[in-house]
């Protein structure tokens, strides 16, 4: 049943309240089951052998000794994964990333896998596999990889997006360009032009739960996969396609997910676990170790970005341009394109151009990381925005307000904006008490803006009403951060019943139609939309049952405050029927009462945030302390404010880690040197202050409640906000993230000469 998605500006009684999450008790008692918490009778332990080399030909793999080890039930190498992709390069890339095919492309690339009766045997078997490598020249730096002399990662890659189409291989997989107007003319009008280059290092999503799955695949081609994932339906489709299975015969169940942030939108070991299970005909549990997570799952790009912005004395930007070089690891991605699209999205620009280059290097395949690619572009752009403001002698916030995009602005990536929140977030920053705090010695303040698209996508939900009037809502998006609570609120709101009466279940792939991966801040937006419509669907049934009970036409029945009411004078004698009463009678009025909805929840509504941050820098060590941090973001409508704030705070904290300390450190040998939480330094509790939040609600016209996605945008401004704050504190422009103590100290000393 199609429903109108337009914003209805209704008053809410449940939505917007801070209720306790329904899965809370499970999660504070240790009962909630995550990826590694499931077991099956007769299960084997799966382990993966990984390349120690950044780039090498695999000339021979001898698995005979491993196969003979008692307790080993299956050994696989690349040849055990036949090419069923039918020439689909994208699928082949996924397959080759799961298991090398003749060539190891990065330190940590899988080259063989075993399944054995226990961990000790599996580990022993890995040692017995003899791999003969012929090392090849490697490249891990994005700028180096673009040079003509760089070793070529894939000989089949031709740069797309350039004319004429090249005929020789390159590490530049794609050139993309966005923008409008005439930047040369724009820069010619400028009174001030600032141009600067920036670098950012590679970071990982750093979810605390390593990838884990329990795979069962029988000789009949039927299988089960229990897995920690953001998208069990996508995993099902990809695994089925790579392994030649019928989609419907592979049931994938999403476990509770211990963090994803984009990193669990892609398959890494799951096809291998299934193939091991098929070979051994026993369930296989495969859990990654932490160093495997760092080495062989998808971090975000390291980047190199040039930005040029020109403005008139009156503070109006006349032109802006950027060239963005993003490495995508050993396989092509779209990461520079996203950087190019988002870089100037906050501003109303007549002349703008951004060019992105996606570059291959010998590092793990890059995956999405929360508003992928936007933070690095924002770091460069928002730094230059500050520099231009300073050059003009203008307040940096005022300068941003003067140039902010608004309804009707043609976005730098093309389309024209509807109602958006960048202006209001900046006004909120300007008026925030944070901005009035007096700064002390060695302290600095920074402000920055950020943008993210948000997605909707394919969504399918079921709503079933029990005979006692309690409601189960089954959704196909995973709960990455409290969405069950938000969705239960929405269902309760629509049905007019208590929040406590609703339970939300994450359905497996065989209980619902396809649901897109929970990415692009779509969980609450799209499943929320489908929940509204499924509830309205159920309300129609409830009204019919009430009409039948009363013996009146259904047109005379309305649904108000959780009960069916008979309208019209002739029906005055009919007392309302509550949902509970109708449900109790349902076995005799036509059977179970349910609502259902499938929708492509497009129109997620773009999202903007402005952050402010105060830091203190120790001028002798280069150490930065975050003194105060405030997030202002447009949520459209905050269904559950606690979890909206939680997204704001979590994104900011990840951004702070990225800005100050987190980075992949590669040695000259192309090996990752810090594949662990000790030397890959995500912020600890004592590193951070409380993170203040301010939720703005500028309704999204494409959602019945006005909801916008909120999950990602909060990681976009921190790099730049802290970059601006540190630069203001030390009096030197920081241009390299992370701004680790050695980098800051070096910058200070360089400036002092």
């Amino acid at each position: 049943m199609p429903y109108e998605t337009d914003y209805t500006n209704q008053g809410f009684s449940k939505v917007g309240t801070r209720v306790n999450r329904p899965d809370g008790v499970d999660k504070v008692t240790g009962r909630a089951k995550y990826g590694a918490d499931a077991n099956a009778a007769g299960q084997l332990v799966g382990r993966i052998l990984r390349s120690p080399h950044a780039h090498a030909l695999i000339t021979k793999i001898d698995t005979s000794k491993a196969e003979k080890l008692p307790g080993v039930k299956a050994v696989l190498t690349g040849k055990d994964f036949p090419d069923l992709t039918g020439g689909d390069r994208g699928m082949m890339n996924i397959l080759e990333n799961c298991m090398a095919r003749g060539r190891a492309l990065y330190d940590g690339h899988a080259v063989a896998a075993v399944a054995a009766i226990d961990a000790d045997t599996a580990n022993e078997a890995l040692k017995l596999i003899k791999v003969t490598y012929k090392q090849l020249p490697h490249v891990t730096d994005v700028d180096e990889a673009m040079k003509p002399s760089a070793p070529i990662i894939h000989d089949w890659v031709r740069t797309t997006g350039v004319t004429p189409a090249p005929t020789t291989a390159s590490n530049v997989a794609q050139r993309t360009e966005f923008g409008h107007g005439d930047i040369d003319a724009g820069f010619a009008q400028a009174d001030v032009i600032i141009e600067k280059s920036f670098k950012t290092e590679q970071t990982h999503q750093g979810y605390i739960e390593p990838h884990a799955c329990l795979a069962t695949l029988g000789p009949d081609g039927s299988g089960e996969l229990w897995v920690t994932t953001q998208g069990h339906f996508t995993f099902r489709n990809v695994c089925a396609s790579l392994l030649g299975l019928d989609v419907a015969k592979l049931r994938v169940t999403a476990s509770e997910i211990g963090g994803g942030f984009g990193g669990k939108t892609h398959v890494w070991t799951e096809p291998v676990a299934l193939q091991l299970s098929r070979r051994a005909n026993r369930p296989v549990k495969l859990v990654m170790s932490r160093d495997e997570v760092f080495k062989a799952t998808g971090p975000t790009s390291s980047t190199s970005v040039d930005v040029k912005i020109g403005a008139k004395r009156n503070g109006k930007i006349t032109a802006a341009s950027a060239e963005l070089r993003y490495q995508s690891g050993a396989f092509p991605g779209m990461w520079a394109m996203l950087g190019a699209m988002t870089s100037f999205a906050c501003y109303d620009l007549k002349n703008v151009k951004s060019v992105g280059f996606d570059v291959l290097v010998n590092r793990p395949k890059v995956a999405a990381y929360r508003a992928p690619s936007a933070p690095m572009a924002a770091f460069a752009v928002e730094s230059v925005v500050d520099m231009v403001a300073a050059e003009l002698g203008m307040d940096a916030v005022e300068f941003r307000i003067k140039n902010a995009a608004k309804k009707g602005t043609k976005a730098s990536y093309g389309p024209v904006y509807g109602p958006i929140g960048i202006g209001p977030t900046l006004e909120a920053v300007k008026n925030h008490p944070h901005m009035k705090r007096k700064l002390g010695k060695n302290q600095g303040r920074g402000v920055a803006c950020g943008f993210w698209f948000n997605f909707g996508g394919q969504t399918c939900t079921d709503l079933n009403i029990g005979v006692d009037g309690s409601v189960n809502l089954t959704v196909g998006t995973v709960d990455v951060g409290g969405s069950r609570a938000s969705l239960a609120l929405i269902a309760a709101e629509e049905l007019g019943i208590d929040y406590e009466q609703v339970r939300v279940t994450i359905g497996d792939t065989n209980s619902l139609g396809h649901n897109d991966t929970t990415e692009g801040s779509r969980g609450t937006f799209s499943s929320g939309m489908a929940a509204i419509f499924a509830a309205r669907d159920a309300v129609e049934v409830l009204k019919q049952r009430a009409a039948a009970t009363w013996g009146i036409p259904v047109e005379q029945v309305v649904w108000e405050a959780g009960e069916a009411r008979a309208k019209g004078k002739q029906n005055n004698n009919l007392p309302p029927l509550s949902l509970k009463e109708i449900a109790a009678k349902s076995p005799r009025t036509g059977g179970p009462i349910a609502g259902h909805n499938e929708v492509v929840a497009d129109g997620a509504g773009v999202s903007f945030a402005s952050h402010m941050c105060d830091v203190e820098v120790d001028p002798e060590t280069g150490a930065t302390k975050i003194l105060r941090y405030t997030v202002v973001q447009d949520a459209g409508k905050a269904i559950h404010p606690d979890y909206v704030e939680g997204q704001f705070q979590g994104g900011a904290a990840q951004g702070i880690g990225w800005a100050l300390n987190e980075e992949y450190v590669y040695g000259d040998d192309g090996r990752l040197q810090n594949a662990g939480f000790l030397d890959y330094r995500i912020p600890v509790c004592s590193d951070l202050p409380f993170i203040d939040t301010q939720i703005l609600e500028i309704p999204n016209p494409n959602h019945p409640y006005g909801v916008r996605g909120v999950g990602e945008t909060s990681i976009v401004p921190p790099l730049a906000a802290i970059g601006n704050a540190v630069s203001n504190a030390v009096g030197v422009r920081m241009d390299h993230v992370p701004m680790s103590p050695p980098r800051i100290l070096k910058a200070i000393e360089a400036a002092q000469g």
Binding site: E620, T621, Q673, D679, S740
Partner: protein, 286 residues
């Protein structure tokens, strides 16, 4: 692998002596278990020394301090008396990892792990600590700085292990301090560190010991830095001289945790700040 938990030092030494393969002593296990997990070592024998009663003793007396090899670092911080006598040693020991690590790790283990960045080692050396080493042939006492030979290498024989760390009696008007630099506030390995132990006489530094960590293969005693402080009230000139001496004593490496230049520069900064803290603790006034 065999796991043994003897109840006497004699039995422990005998076990170590009789093992022909790879044998490890297990105290807190916070380094050993990580190495086992990473496959860096595959022991044939692990000897847990925590069931030896005498090794779990922490004795703080006027004659000196006895820290049993199985005493977790957190217990050092729980002793007000020890904190009063050797604040630098305690703060160094309490910087080894999180509260979770503190509940397990020991200063003897921190020493035997022989990492150039070990937190407690510079403080112990500055304090003049000695290790009581026990083996099949009996006991010997050795200065802490003689235990570590280089990264991962100690001077202990196959059958030997540390029974206790002992600190000398404390002179009046003396104090120590330890500072390290880490990018995070907690859960980190020292990029560079400095321990200072001072004794004052009439407000003037009478004796001093300056030890740097993570700037060379082993902790570095810097006599020239100590000399710069002796006879002063830590005036700016004395401190500058000490900083120069510290920088000169540095022989660090470039690695994922820090660069040569950075370590050298910050070693001096840490030493200067630690010296001022120790001076104030000892009752000094500038």
């Amino acid at each position: 692998m065999r796991f043994e938990s003897p109840t006497t030092t004699k039995a422990a030494a005998a076990l170590l002596a009789s093992e022909s393969g790879v044998a490890h002593v297990l105290a807190g296990g916070t380094d050993l278990l990580v190495r086992m997990k990473m496959g860096a070592t595959e022991p044939d024998l692990v000897v847990d020394i925590k069931r030896i009663d005498s090794l779990r003793e922490l004795k703080v007396t006027a004659a000196g301090v006895h820290i049993g090899a199985a005493v977790p670092a957190i217990m050092l911080g729980e002793s007000d008396k020890l904190r009063g006598l050797w604040p630098g040693v305690v703060e160094a020991a309490n910087l080894i990892g999180s509260d979770q690590i503190q509940g397990r790790c020991t200063v003897a283990g921190n020493l035997c792990n022989a990492s150039p960045a070990a937190d407690s080692v510079p403080a112990l050396i500055a304090a003049g600590a000695k290790a009581v080493v026990v083996g099949t042939k009996g006991k010997r006492r050795v200065a802490v700085e003689k235990v570590v030979l280089g990264p991962g290498r100690t001077s202990l024989a196959r059958d030997e292990f540390i029974e206790a760390i002992v600190l000398p009696a404390r002179a009046g008007k003396s104090a120590d301090a330890y500072l390290r630099f880490t990018p995070r506030t907690e859960m980190d390995i020292a990029v560079v560190s400095a321990a200072i132990n001072l004794t004052l006489s009439r407000g003037i530094v009478q004796s001093a010991k300056v030890v740097l960590g993570a700037v060379a293969p082993t902790a570095v005693i810097v006599p020239a830095a100590a000399k710069a402080l002796i006879g002063t009230k830590l005036d700016d000139a004395a401190l500058a001289k000490m900083v120069t001496a510290c920088e000169a004593a540095c022989n660090p490496i470039d690695d994922k945790r820090g660069t040569i230049e950075y370590r050298t520069k910050v070693a001096g900064v840490m030493a200067r700040r630690a010296a001022l803290i120790a001076f104030e603790r000892a009752g000094g006034a500038k």
